[in-house]
């Protein structure tokens, strides 16, 4: 079974059930939008997939392999990439540092080689650095390599962080409100990049987003969460016309309820 399959996933925090019996499958080469009002459980769901939050019940499988219960860096190593809402990872990191931090998949030396800086470790690190520079060049930000992330324009920081997540060659990418705070030109650029990742690299993308115009033109399918449940799962045009979805967003009782 290929793809990122979420089955009967439930997350309880004490007495509060943040995610209830959620199931859907994100397929490679498709962009799945995850929408819903605030508090619907979207971020909790992303955090579950990344391993930050342990699910109370249910399973998360990547190509048939269970991810629930693995530690965060193992999940990352299996191919689940995460793009951050606030892309300034570490104070004092340059753009190049940020990209190098994503290169863990290139590094295969042991703790001893790391501790004593053996040649194998140094060689692999040099290769990772080279690849990070090439990636910066590819997004047209080579000139920013040695600049502090905090001093870059916000849109550039977002691009650098997206490029950072790609350094680990993920199979699926989780994005939490990637275009919040970007201007129209920057949104178009990011949307183009995501489409290219989908179509050229065959990445599966899960996108949590409040910008409905973007969801409508970018996503292949949309899952709507409300109060922890899936209330709709369809192509964007159908979902955005759905009465239950409008009710959840506008706070009206569905006419047929």
């Amino acid at each position: 079974m290929s793809g990122l399959a979420i089955t009967r996933l439930t997350v309880r925090f004490g007495g509060l059930t943040a995610v209830r019996d959620v199931g859907f499958t994100a397929a490679p080469g498709r962009i799945l939008g995850l929408i819903g009002p605030n508090g619907a459980g979207k971020s909790t769901l992303l955090n579950c997939i990344s391993g930050i939050t342990r699910p109370s019940a249910g399973s998360i499988r990547l190509d048939g392999t269970e991810l629930a219960g693995l530690s965060m860096h193992r999940i990352a190593a299996r191919g689940i990439g995460r793009v951050f809402q606030h892309p300034e990872l570490v104070a004092g990191f340059t753009a190049l540092d940020t990209l190098r931090a994503g290169c863990h998949r290139d590094l295969h030396y042991g703790l001893l080689a790391e501790l004593f800086a053996l040649p194998a470790a140094r060689r692999q690190e040099a290769a990772a650095r080279h690849r990070a520079l090439a990636a910066l060049d590819a997004i047209g930000l080579a000139a920013d390599a040695d600049r502090d992330m905090a001093l870059l324009p916000y849109g550039h920081r977002k691009l650098v962080d997206l490029a950072r997540s790609l350094m680990a060659a993920p199979r699926f990418l989780l994005l939490d409100e990637p275009v919040a705070g970007l201007n129209d030109a920057e949104i178009d650029r990011l949307a183009d990049m995501l489409r290219e990742l989908r179509d050229v690299r065959g990445l599966g993308i899960v996108l949590v987003e409040h910008n409905m115009a973007l969801v409508a033109r970018l996503c292949d399918e949309v899952v709507v969460l409300d109060a922890g449940r899936v209330i709709a799962h369809d192509v964007p045009q159908a979902v955005l016309r759905d009465r239950a979805v409008m009710a959840a967003y506008l706070g009206e009782a569905p006419a047929d309820a």
Partner: protein, 290 residues
């Protein structure tokens, strides 16, 4: 006279700084003040002593092996003692390091006895060098040079190596680091290994100046702490500067006020800094993101 006191203070301060750096690396990455750092250094110095005395190795070979041991000792302590306590209150880990402090001291006593030993210095018989007309023992100059080299080395490692990158990321936000894919368990182990190395270097430099015995690092640990707090534990250069200032002050106060007041000064500095400027002179306040 005063030049001598100042240069002697700088040499002593450099030794404090090596212990301070060891503490600072571990605190920065794992949030744990390691009260066993001094005894860990003492044990690795005794390892060097045994290699010299019993197995007849040359000084450099014995010290190199002992420093390798110091690194592995730090990693082993992190994995065996600290790692099981991660996720609990920091206080548990702090108490574990205090316990380890006592355990290591007792074990060292059982193996090497509590009498004092003489630990040679490769520079012991070298003539003093003259700095601005002040004669200065060569090993004091070496202390300052080694401390500088260690700080520079650690700074470069943090700046340029992937391990250093991972350490910096882990020290700021462990969850984010793990999401990026950084195995933070390794960063923790590495920080303790580096701390062990810096402490071990302090041990082999202190031992020839004092005598080698199981209690030689106790005072040094507190002074490394005080100097680090003075300069700011979040900045390696702050630790270095703070420890140098402490070493010099101690010498001046000891000479002009009272020799016994030199030690009290350490605690006065510690309390004063924590009251007035807890982040230290060069430290930065760490913001916790919620």
């Amino acid at each position: 006279m005063i030049g001598n006191l100042i240069l002697g203070g700088l040499a002593a301060g450099s030794l404090y700084a090596l212990v301070g750096i060891a503490l600072a690396i571990v605190i920065r990455v794992t949030d744990i003040p390691n009260f066993a750092q001094g005894e860990m250094a003492m044990v690795s110095t005794f390892v060097a002593y045994s290699l010299l005395d019993r197995y007849g190795l040359g000084w450099w070979a014995a010290v190199a092996l002992a420093l390798g041991f110091a690194v592995l000792q730090g990693v082993a302590v992190q994995i065996l003692v600290i790692r099981p306590l991660i996720g609990g209150p920091v206080l548990s880990a702090v108490i574990a390091t205090l316990g380890l402090n006592i355990v290591l001291n007792s074990i060292a006593g059982m193996i090497w006895g509590h009498e004092t030993h003489i630990f040679p210095s490769p520079l012991g018989d070298a003539p003093p060098v003259f700095v601005a007309g002040v004669p200065l023992p060569l090993d004091s100059v070496a202390n300052i040079g080694v401390a500088l080299a260690v700080i520079l080395g650690v700074t470069l490692l943090l700046r340029y190596s992937w391990a250093g990158l991972a350490l910096r990321a882990t020290s700021q936000d462990a969850v984010m680091a793990r999401l990026v894919g950084i195995p933070i368990g390794r960063s923790f182990a590495l920080a303790w290994g580096l701390g062990g190395l810096a402490g071990g270097i302090a041990g082999v430099l202190v031992a020839p100046a004092l005598f080698l015995d199981t209690n030689m690092m106790g005072a040094l640990l507190i002074k490394g702490f005080a100097g680090g707090v003075l300069g700011g534990l979040s900045s390696l250069w702050g630790v270095f500067g703070g420890c140098l200032v402490l070493g010099v002050l101690e010498n001046l106060v000891g000479a002009y006020l009272s020799p016994s007041f030199g030690d009290a000064l350490t605690f006065i500095v510690l309390i004063a800094v924590l009251t007035i400027r807890p982040e230290g002179l060069l430290g930065r306040v760490r913001m916790r993101k919620v």
